[in-house]
């Protein structure tokens, strides 16, 4: 007899940030605008604003991560919050401690926010449903379900490169959609901003059962899928996909779905290339593309900090500065 969990509270404030789905265009724009106002902080000599002074943020990671955890940590520190990193590998849970036990123990330390990553889809919702009142939950990736801050930083990066009008854009997402929380979040986010066309490019084995229900155009051929694209997002391919009989080899994957300079010419001349990282060079894309003029991969990383600062400050109900302090 579970009840649903709401991201927006009765007063219309951001309580949790779990998924892009259902959040709506206005909230996405608001977060992006807030992130814009935070992006100056990194350029200051003192890279800190005192907005979350005295607040405690816990990075609760049940799955290993370097990049996402680091950018969340940096975002929290730049907001002057106290940060605690807890990596719950399987150790605690194999000792018989349940996820709820872990949660209760950390709650007892009077924290204000959980940033959660977990291998199970729905884990962030579960934690948000059971967390003490007053604690916010930010989803840093749950199973194959959602990775909403990643999707937002992608929107942020696209907006910076291409402007506000997503209706003009043709965006191609290439790779392992089925196992990707990033792709699911991106598709919701791009649809919320009424993106002109969202294309998904993958072999059938890497597409979810009802991929056509996601509001995207499906392509199996990369050349067709990226033709005249304004934005190409390459997804990371996990090596274990070869074992599950999903793909024959990395070699064949690269031959069919690897992004090369030659193929990139099929897209718009001003196309931008993105990747959530970490890249498998020579599998998803050629190094010359990853490091080339069209690549925004490193910008994505720095935008990730501003976007996470925005989400954290909004979920803590503090106003962002009008301009860099």
């Amino acid at each position: 007899m579970n009840e649903g969990v709401h991201q927006i509270d009765d007063q219309g404030r951001l309580r949790h940030f779990l998924t892009i789905e259902g959040l709506g265009r206005d909230w996405l724009i608001r977060i992006l605008d807030t992130a814009e106002s935070f992006s100056g902080v990194a350029e200051q000599s003192i890279k800190k604003v005192p907005l979350l002074r005295g607040r405690t943020i816990v990075n609760l990671f049940f799955e290993p991560s370097t990049r996402t955890r680091t950018t969340f940590e940096l975002a929290a520190k730049r907001l002057s919050a106290d940060v605690l990193n807890i990596n719950v590998s399987t150790s605690a849970t194999t000792k018989g401690e349940t996820l709820l036990d872990t949660l209760r123990n950390i709650e007892a330390m009077h924290v204000d926010m959980f940033v959660v990553r977990h291998a199970d889809s729905g884990a962030a919702h579960f934690i948000a449903r059971h967390v003490a009142p007053g604690i916010s939950v930010i989803n840093a990736g749950d199973g194959r379900h959602a990775h909403p801050t990643q999707a937002l930083l992608d929107l942020f990066t696209i907006r910076r490169a291409k402007g506000d009008d997503f209706g003009r854009l043709r965006v191609a997402i290439v790779g392992d959609i089925e196992h990707s929380r990033v792709a699911r979040a991106q598709i919701h986010a791009l649809n919320s901003l009424n993106t002109g066309e969202i294309r998904v490019v993958a072999p059938r084995t890497l597409l979810p059962a009802a991929a056509d229900s996601l509001g995207v155009h499906l392509f199996h051929d990369l050349n067709e899928g990226i033709r005249d694209a304004d934005v190409i997002i390459m997804l990371r391919l996990q090596r274990e996909r070869m074992q599950g009989a999903l793909l024959p080899s990395e070699h064949e994957y690269f031959r069919l779905y690897g992004l090369t300079e030659e193929r990139l010419r099929l897209a718009r001349p001003d196309v931008v290339v993105m990747h959530p990282g970490p890249i498998n060079r020579g599998v998803e894309m050629d190094s010359r593309v990853a490091d080339g003029a069209h690549s925004l991969i490193l910008q994505q990383v720095s935008h990730g900090i501003a976007v996470r600062m925005a989400v954290m400050s909004l979920a803590m109900q503090v106003a962002a500065p009008e301009a860099p302090v």
Partner: protein, 432 residues
């Protein structure tokens, strides 16, 4: 409690075995049905139960109910669940073999029977293991299990090592006239999944189980059933295509029956949208199209049994992220009311609904030969009296099972069982 001679007066008696449906008096003596209709000569009842305005039918037979004993008594016990069953008019519960220890020896069969007898609320029919320890490799001692009282054998959704083992097991079971209970699921296609491969799993990124996990297994199993001639029963179908395959096989004269579990007639993949772990079932809740086909299959009789697939859990089992929760729903409490809801919704007529809960399951296991699931003269006096007009709200205070894990919490459902007789004894009587 121990009146020996009873009269149930003036109820609408529905007995699918004889086809009787009409107001009549039911006479009971020495734990058995004596007669239906006019009072037998020289019969003075010790007690008369007024059943006017109510439905009187055979005690319900639940073809699949996990009672969690032996092995998982923290979830439920034979005593707790048979008592809950009595509250809902269920007098026969069929218990799959995946207890711990597994029901693969007469000793475990006896243990379960003894516990059930000691509790005294309902009959527990043990379904024996098809393979030893349900390991899928070595045949169980089926003849011994049959002699100990198992009318059927099955592998309780555990995989078999190979199609060859299945074929041999079916042949061996057929030798001893045992019915084989098949849970159609292709192990590899279902591995790691927790939701139907459809709209919701696509959106929520839940590891999925395609409909083919069921249909591929049904196709394979049907081929072997046809060849071996064993009496087979397919448990808990969930897909439209599997219902069609069974209908076709029955038309062709293959000796198969099949059932549906009540939740699949009311819930779909859409109910997973909020990650409600009470909707984590195995096999998974499927699409609206499948639900419609299951309802039709039940009405038309391709699915001759409606069961609860009762799986009580302790609260912790459902308190985790969706994929990490244990599958299964507590179902005894809602079984008769959901059947009546189907009647209200115009899916099936009341006599047919009762048949799916009594004679249908009894026939699968040949229990009707002993009169179970019928109101025949001489049959054990297992009787349910139901106030079909009463309504109740499903909630923690109204669930009698030890397992509170139901996705129907908050639903208002029709039907209250006012009296349950088991072997002529009143094991449940609702307070006024």
């Amino acid at each position: 409690m121990s009146e020996r001679r009873l009269c149930i007066r003036g109820g609408r008696v529905i007995d699918p075995d004889s086809g009787h449906d009409g107001v009549a008096d039911l006479w009971i003596a020495e734990g058995r049905i004596l007669a239906l209709g006019p009072a037998p000569a020289d019969f003075t009842p010790d007690r008369v139960i007024d059943a006017r305005g109510r439905v009187v039918c055979p005690g319900l037979v639940d073809l699949c109910a996990r009672l969690r004993e032996p092995g998982a008594e923290h979830k439920a016990t034979i005593a707790s669940e048979t008592r809950a069953a009595a509250h809902r008019g269920i007098t026969t519960l069929c218990c799959p073999p995946d207890t711990d220890p597994v029901i693969d020896t007469p000793a475990v069969v006896e243990l379960v029977h003894q516990r059930a007898e000691a509790a005294g609320f309902a009959r527990v029919v043990t379904l024996g293991a098809l393979t030893r320890g349900l390991d899928g490799e070595q045949l169980s001692e089926m003849a011994a299990l049959r002699d100990a009282g198992c009318p059927a054998v099955g592998n309780a959704r555990r995989p078999l090592a190979s199609t060859l083992v299945l074929r041999r097991a079916l042949e061996y079971a057929a030798t001893f006239g045992l019915t084989v209970m098949l849970d159609p699921e292709d192990e590899a296609l279902a591995a790691g999944g927790c939701a139907h491969a459809g709209l919701v799993a696509t959106r929520l990124g839940l590891p999925s189980i395609p409909a083919a996990a069921e249909t591929a297994a049904v196709a394979r199993d049907l081929a072997l059933v046809e060849e071996t001639g064993v009496r087979a029963h397919f448990c808990h179908l969930t897909t439209a295509r599997a219902v069609r395959m069974i209908a076709r096989a029955r038309y062709d004269g293959v000796p198969v029956t099949a059932d549906v579990a009540a939740p699949y007639l009311f819930l779909t993949e859409m109910d997973l949208a909020g990650f409600d772990s009470n909707c984590h079932l195995r096999p998974p809740l499927r699409s609206q199209r499948d639900l419609d086909a299951l309802r039709r299959g039940l009405a038309e009789g391709t699915l001759s049994v409606l069961c609860s697939d009762h799986q009580p859990h302790e609260a912790d089992a459902k308190l985790a992220p969706f994929p990490a929760t244990e599958p299964g729903m507590s179902g005894l409490d809602t079984l008769p009311s959901l059947a009546l809801r189907l009647v209200e919704d115009g899916v099936i007529g009341l006599p047919d609904a009762i048949a799916r809960l009594t004679l249908g399951p009894a026939r699968v296991l040949g229990l009707d030969a002993e009169g179970i699931g019928t109101l025949r003269a001489g049959a054990p006096a297992d009787v349910a009296i139901i106030d079909t007009g009463a309504r109740w709200r499903v909630g923690a205070d109204s669930i009698e099972s030890k397992g509170q894990n139901t996705a129907f919490g908050g639903w208002e459902l029709p039907g209250r069982v006012t009296h349950t007789l088991f072997r002529g004894r009143l094991v449940h009587e609702a307070g006024a």
